[in-house]
């Protein structure tokens, strides 16, 4: 009854719809594909434009970045900026990259471990105080990081874990919990009740149902939550700035500000570091994208 290979099913269903379509209007299909591809190219260009500026800036010589009038392409290409940036006097970037990775990965795992049960239960089981719980979780997102940072610093100082990764993992997890809960909650809630009931009738326990039936069906939601959390951790700034004082412990988001000087800024490095910090996230995304897109299809629930 329940198949866990929605991918193939989905593709087949999609194909049959397209076939049916062709039956009605044989010509337009090709034209539509063209329009779509053109639209896709335009969309991609718009979304990439600022990052192209960044990319081009990152291979310009320092002096050329602020030239008037500006140059679209470098008159002299300096790809070695990407090598020299790792050993600048301003910031120990290899450490900063490692810090960012560790904090973000651990933070995301923690969020998932904590948010998944809460999201599942609140979506599937009404209980008194459910709305209060969800609102409380959400309220954590409504606070201003700038103003919270002093309190956070003070708290971790008292706990003796200021300037540690652990502190930042906890901060990131606590403050990103809410969106993860909400995103996954909405996906769990969107599942037809019949799935759970069918599984339960079959004698599966609640946890078995969750693991073998429900989880595979809400993959898109989980993946969205993972990406959302990971990116938020990856780019967190306000708390890291005050909690992590050792240059080697700081994440890239803080390290990058070291290239902005009082009278002059190393824009080529600022841009190069930005590009480098985008890449891992895009790779992560490329890896999970299929999961996100495959997801649940009606074919699986017949």
């Amino acid at each position: 009854m329940v198949t866990t290979t929605p991918e193939t099913t989905g593709r087949r269903a999609g194909a049959s719809a397209a076939d049916a379509h062709r039956g009605f209007r044989p010509r337009s299909r090709h034209g539509r594909r063209w329009t779509r591809t053109t639209a896709g190219v335009v969309v991609a260009l718009v979304f990439l434009a600022p990052y192209l500026v960044m990319l081009i800036g990152s291979v310009k010589r320092h002096a050329e970045i602020l030239r008037i009038p500006p140059t679209y392409l470098p008159t002299e290409w300096i790809p070695s900026n990407y090598l020299t940036m790792w050993s600048t006097p301003e910031a120990p970037l290899p450490y900063n990259l490692a810090s960012t990775l560790i904090i973000s990965l651990c933070g995301t795992v923690l969020v998932l471990a904590v948010a998944l049960p809460a999201a599942y239960y609140t979506a599937k089981h009404p209980f008194p105080g459910r709305a209060v719980f969800l609102l409380l979780v959400l309220a954590t997102q409504m606070l201003q990081p700038t103003v919270l940072a002093p309190g956070l610093f003070r708290q971790f100082l008292a706990l003796g874990i200021d300037d540690t990764w652990l502190a930042m993992i906890l901060v990131n997890a606590a403050f990103n919990l809410s969106f993860a809960v909400w995103i996954m909650h909405s996906f769990f809630a969107g599942l037809p009740k019949e799935i759970d009931e069918a599984a339960l009738v079959d004698g599966a326990s609640k946890l078995q149902t969750l693991r073998h039936v429900t989880l595979p069906l809400v993959w898109p939601g989980i993946v969205t939550a993972i990406i959302f959390t990971f990116i938020a951790c990856w780019n967190e700034f306000a708390a890291s700035l005050v909690i992590l004082t050792t240059a080697e412990n700081q994440p890239l988001s803080v390290a990058i500000t070291k290239f902005v000087g009082q009278y002059d800024s190393a824009w080529h490095y600022v841009f190069a570091v930005s590009i480098v910090s985008i890449v891992p996230v895009v790779i992560l995304f490329a890896l999970v994208e299929k999961r996100l897109v495959a997801g649940l299809t009606a074919g699986a629930v017949k």
Binding site: T37, F127, L135, W182, I227, V282
Partner: protein
């Protein structure tokens, strides 16, 4: 666990209140999340509220209680009206435009076409980049002198000379809204795209067989299924956009006065320019209550929590 409960059934009407039992059952699932929030978030939040009632020196030393003085000072702030108006324009404008564009974009990305995977990856990039960096590069590219976007507009003949997009309150505010939409699109689009995967093909198929047009299918079948995804995306966007600091700070940071400020950037200016942490905390408390109210109304109206 619950179904394995072997508790002796008491006669109806005399059992322990079922509400409490349900709550106890729910706790193990919620406890990890609650623990994390209570241990990490509670103190700084309380500290913020505490600071809003204190007199804190510029250096950061607590000089004693200020009662409600900070809140009174806030109410007497002359530009408050403009700042609130800006905030409303900012949140409503950015969230609405983001949603509309995302719906269209998700539709496009859900269609099959060559290179779709690459386009999807391109759309994710503004999300992967930190908002600070995206704002910074926009600011740089829009500079009237050495900005590439400005130069591009000049070369196309649209402008005679570079225009100070980021130098005047209204254009800078509008440009900031564009950037805010830009960085909000990936998440919103993907949430909707993920939602689109839950639209059963056979139902759409059946509707099409029945002769329903694409518009009708979208309104009657697709949108209702997307509802939870949209509700959550909008919810998260409202909060994020409301609390967004880096875009306006970067794009309008050099502009004097408060004509391009929202409550969030005003908090920042209280801290950065006026060195008044106490006043900033008071405004944060107000800010928090406003978001809470907005979200409360939103949830009450849309009920995305699905109380079945």
């Amino acid at each position: 666990m619950s179904e394995q409960n072997t508790q002796v059934q008491l006669p109806p009407g005399r059992s322990a209140p079922p509400a409490r039992r349900e709550l106890v059952r729910a706790l193990p699932w919620l406890l990890p999340a609650l623990t994390l929030i209570l241990t990490i978030v509670l103190f700084p939040a309380a500290y913020m509220v505490w600071t809003s009632s204190r007199d804190v020196s510029q250096a950061g030393v607590d000089r004693g209680s200020a009662g409600l003085d900070n809140f009174v000072a806030l109410l007497n702030f002359p530009a408050l009206g403009r700042v609130f108006t800006n905030t409303i324009i900012w949140v409503v404008g950015v969230v609405l435009v983001t949603l509309l564009i995302s719906l269209a974009l998700a539709q496009l990305l859900n269609q099959a076409f060559p290179g779709r995977r690459l386009v999807r990856l391109a759309v994710i990039v503004p999300w992967a980049a930190s908002v600070v960096m995206t704002s910074t590069v926009f600011y740089y590219a829009l500079d009237p002198f050495y900005g590439v976007f400005n130069q591009f507009l000049v070369d196309l003949g649209i402008l005679d000379a570079g225009f100070g997009f980021t130098r005047r309150p209204v254009p800078a505010f509008v440009v900031s809204m564009v950037v805010a939409v830009f960085v909000s699109l990936p998440f919103t689009t993907y949430t909707i795209l993920a939602g689109l995967q839950t639209v059963p093909d056979d139902i759409v198929e059946a509707a099409r067989m029945d002769g329903a047009g694409p518009g009708r299918i979208y309104r009657r079948i697709v949108l209702p299924i997307l509802r939870p995804a949209i509700a959550v995306a909008v919810l998260i966007n409202i909060i994020n956009v409301f609390n967004s600091l880096p875009i306006l700070r970067t794009m309008t940071g050099s502009i004097p006065g408060y004509d391009a400020d929202t409550t969030t950037t005003l908090i920042f200016k209280y801290v950065q320019q006026d060195r008044q942490v106490d006043l900033a905390s008071a405004l944060s408390v107000v800010n928090f209550l406003i978001v809470l109210a907005v979200i409360g109304i939103y949830l009450a109206a849309l009920r995305p929590m699905r109380d079945e």
